[in-house]
Symmetry: C2
Subunit: 637 residues, 2 copies
């Protein structure tokens, strides 16, 4: 069972549970060859605190002695590993050495019988150079086997590998076929040759094609991707599991893994990323060790560095800075830069998974940062929800705000402000990502002026970029200077931006009271007719209070802003419990992760307000965990 | 005494020696407050293998008990530290708490008397907000004190801090004044407030202004710069020493140092860059520790992470990949990106320090990579040395080389090939950086076509970019197809590119024999009249052999390609010894680090050939170590 606990866009921190064993994702499973153990499973469990590994059931199966022991003692005792054990099926052996003479059902049943926690179907490997026909045949055969395996195996976790070579459309097709079987776990296969040749751009296209067609509630594993260079990129695209034989394979060749690439032991004088197993002071000792001892030390280092990178990526998800981190990592190899630019091409597809407000400030780290989906999503929401009818639209530069404060505060007009992240309405300047974005002096600007202008209604455009506003102009434009209520206008703009155009009028229609922070003077709470409707968060957006939710519920018709829950859930929610997976009936498809939502039952009766962790597609699919964090609920008589 | 051992552009690995104690640079000296020891000097020496620290002589001086002990036992015994100890003078205390009531000579003598290895002058601190006049006064007073201190102190290592606020011209002036005193060590002072406010762009201007006016043979220290974020940038600009009180200061505030920034302990759930002292599994324990114990652990972590970053930077110098690394680091904070772009503005000044051939392949990591000084230096050398008189110049794309091979191999013309790194003559495609450069598919191109076209002489330009060359065109152009000797032409072009226009004609005038590798078919050795004149290196350039050197010595007049040595050196060099500092009389100012050079005496008599590690300005200044690695020498009768 897979539960998603935290996220940053498509990337997520999850928990995969089998019985009492569980592992937190993203996770790297070390590959253990039961015949040649370099780092023992118990060391992996204890020293590396790594609670999942992968081993090859075929290697056990073909060795009479191991097979016997595995059947008698079970896999976990055989390997002396109390954590989660996934088994592979011999596909790669079949692929490399030809017919391995085993029936796909037989090896699946064997995996089950020795107590594997995740059983892998014997799929058909696809090489990058395979032609379409051969790949299609492999997909069909893999599907056939998966279907029969599922039918024959009973209640176990089955992993259905997705093949498809380098053809995105075939990967998509394979993903859809495999997904239709509702398996428990989806590895992406046939990618090792791409990893080895730095073909990260191809990998992006493969992962995206698969990921967009697989149930978001299921874990996805990138088979054989054991080099830390690509972890952050894969996780950004929603990969949950990796496995690594690399830590040992590279160690045998005296090659050392680092997050930015591989280096030969002999080429090292300084150790760019030291570990407890390898630093500059140990180098000479290690170089002169016996082969076996050296392989062990290097394998320990390689595994440590790989685990460290997983930890780094988790920290980035938790901080909501994964895009920043990937943009940094992209600079460690040109092929990774290529992968980054390729990822941006999927902006339209990944857009909906992006939370519009993040814990981490927006960092500009090059013009590439302006290609992040967040920038487009922000622009899109402005275009959709910032619609007013005012006579004049002024265009200013953010550097000139002080100079024009009189104009801004006294004239009833649109003010579009040029910031590096694009043109933003003045009243949304304090909203994430603008308010906390950090831009260097030396930077390019994103230009969305025309797109925003098209969305608003005005008669006269006055561009004051690098110009002066003087008395002369005042006369020509025939402008009325009259002190505005800046607060109310801003609140209205933010409400519309956040909840949809028209929400502002609905929420502010009555006797308004605005409470500001005594220390900072910032807007904090908003009351309508003495009822608390909104609180302003640090990111400039609002928390929806119960009474505010009721107003929006009346204002907007189904399904806007709704999370629809079952009768069963309703009872719990009315007692203050959060909304959990499996109780979701429907959801507004425009909701993004961490958006405010109104919880209703199937008759659209109001239940309460909360914050969702998922998009509609995700929420309908996931099977475990919280979907909406309930904030306030209706007290029914 | 300071010796430079290795380099990558302005960055260098050095060795600073005082008596029997020495420390490798770039180095971070932990600050030790003798009154409040968190990590003890012996732990620093043993656990962190850090062989230099800095302490404040004023804190010892003003504490009667400590002062007494220091005078009796000496500083090294007082602190129990066998490594190198630098002392600061109380400047910062004077600046923060007002008049510290001590004479600058008295505190300098005190430092000497307690056995400090590097004695710091009591300088006058300059804050970023100080006006010019105040800064100028501080510079003058600091200079006056430095001069008197040097006159009064005898044979000790004196550090003369360079102040100047945020005024690059005053920093330059201060550097020149201080440099005129020929001190042993130059700290750059007054930068902590800039570091704390992420004003890395200002720091770039300050460091560059100082560095360009300080004897290249002397170590330069960035005072108080203890955060690992900026280490790589500072080293790239030629900084040798850092000191850190940050590791303790931040620990006291529960703030944790990471190479990409600072995080609060309470904000951590995952540890992005774990250390032996702090990882995710220790977090809860550490959070609930007693303050004192926690400060120690966090200080250990902070120091470890800082030292790791120094090690990472050293690895980059050793690999010749520091520009790549800095471009990666620049993405971890927008202010670092700003610093990177600011550094490029000094391209003209730092150009000459760049080795034109590097061990590490050129990595394109964004369009910023095309702003590296190496790209301009490569272009400059092409423009200067690629000058031929041919009727036609063809412009092709590197992707079309195969298609046009007949044209290239049979027509006597210039062929300029468009590569991401700019237009490059066909015959130089196999030379560093082009041959090993790695470019993503998604990348911008550097356009130097016009600049290169201006430098060559032709009648007709045929641009075949995205066009076809057909029979029609052949007729119009009246082209003669005739098999060329590709090897000789290429060798000539490379020789001219490397040694200067005309060198090719000189070196190839006679009976030529080209020896190629049996395995790869690549050119390896070149003989003229049966004398070995050149060997081709892996980077596509030549190693100059003795006979080749003699020819170039005849061909080019003084000082071209020369390293001029003293009579004393000549005797040693003629016995096969390398050329050492202090024996250099002069050098061709066009020589770059790692260029081939001809060694001559003051009468311009030929001595031998070798490879220089330094530019002229550097070579004339440094006092210790090898300047030219001798390869072959004249056997005189």
């Amino acid at each position: 069972m897979f539960e998603i606990i935290d996220r940053d866009g498509l990337a997520r921190i999850g928990k995969f549970t089998v019985g009492k064993k569980s592992v937190e994702t993203p996770a790297l499973m070390p590959v253990i060859n039961p015949n040649i153990i370099v780092i023992s499973p118990s060391e992996i469990y204890e020293k590396f605190r790594t609670y999942a590994l992968i081993t090859n059931s075929y290697i056990i199966y073909r060795d009479l002695d191991l097979k016997e022991k595995a059947i008698q003692k079970g896999l976990h005792k055989l390997l002396d590993f109390p954590g989660l054990i996934m088994t592979d099926s011999g596909t790669f052996q079949d692929h490399v050495y030809g017919d391995i003479n085993i029936d796909f059902l037989e090896i699946a049943k064997f995996q089950r019988d020795i107590g594997s926690d995740i059983i892998t179907i014997l799929d058909v490997f696809t090489e990058p150079e395979f032609d379409r026909e051969r790949v299609e045949n492999a997909i069909d055969e893999t599907y056939r086997r998966a279907k029969l395996t599922k039918e024959n195996l009973g209640d176990v976790n089955i992993a259905g590998p997705i093949q498809g070579g380098i053809y995105p459309d075939l990967r998509e097709k394979a993903a859809r076929m495999m997904n239709s079987l509702d398996l428990d776990y989806y590895p992406i296969g046939g990618v090792v040759p791409l990893m080895e040749n730095y073909r990260y751009r191809d990998l992006v296209n493969i992962i995206m094609s698969v990921k967009m067609n697989i149930d978001y509630g299921k874990p996805v594993h990138l088979f054989g991707a054991g080099h830390p260079m690509f972890f952050a990129f894969a996780v950004l695209m929603g990969i949950d599991f990796f496995d690594s034989a690399s830590y040992v394979k590279y160690a045998r060749d005296d090659r050392i893994l680092f997050p930015d690439g591989t280096r030969y032991l002999d080429d090292l004088k300084y150790v760019p990323y030291p570990s407890p197993y390898l630093d500059r002071y140990d180098l000479d000792d290690i170089k002169s060790m016996e082969k076996e001892e050296r392989v062990k030390i290097l394998a320990m280092h390689n595994l440590y560095i790989s685990m460290e990178e997983i930890e780094r990526v988790k920290a980035a998800i938790f901080e909501n800075s994964l895009w920043e981190y990937v943009e940094e990592r992209a600079r460690s190899h040109p092929s990774l830069y290529d992968a980054l630019v390729e990822i941006y091409k999927y902006n339209e597809k990944i857009d909906k998974f992006e939370n519009l407000s993040k814990k981490h400030p927006f960092y500009y780290t090059g013009k590439e940062s302006l290609m992040r989906p967040l920038v487009k999503a922000f622009e899109k929401r402005i275009i959709k929800n910032y619609k007013y009818n005012k006579k004049i639209c002024f265009v200013l530069d953010s550097k000139d705000l002080k100079e024009y404060s009189k104009l801004i505060e006294n004239v009833d007009a649109h003010f579009l402000i040029r910031t590096p992240i694009g043109f933003v309405p003045y009243n949304l300047l304090h909203v994430y990502p603008v308010y906390s974005a950090i831009f260097p002096e030396n930077c390019e600007y994103y230009d969305n002026l025309n797109k925003i202008l098209e969305s608003i209604d005005f008669d006269l455009l006055v561009s004051l970029l690098n110009k002066k506003f003087d008395d002369e102009m005042e006369k020509v434009l025939n402008i009325q200077f009259k002190k505005k209520d800046m607060d109310v206008e801003r609140i209205k703009n933010v409400i519309d931006f956040q909840f949809g155009y028209g929400a502002g009028d609905a929420l502010l229609d009555g006797n308004l009271r605005i409470v500001k922070s005594k220390n900072t003077g910032m807007i904090r709470n908003i009351y309508l007719n003495d009822q608390h409707i909104l609180s302003m968060r640090n990111d400039g957006l609002f928390t929806l209070k119960l009474y505010g939710g009721k107003i929006l519920h009346r204002k907007f018709s189904y399904p806007k802003l709704r999370t629809v829950v079952t009768k069963e859930s309703e009872e719990f929610n009315l007692k203050g419990k959060n909304v959990f997976a499996r109780f979701i009936v429907d959801m507004d498809p425009d909701l993004r992760p961490y958006d405010e939502t109104i919880i209703v039952n199937e008759n659209d009766d109001f239940i309460g307000v909360g914050r969702t962790l998922f998009t509609r597609d995700e929420a309908l699919k996931i099977k475990k965990g919280m979907v909406v964090e309930l904030r306030e609920f209706e007290k029914r008589e």
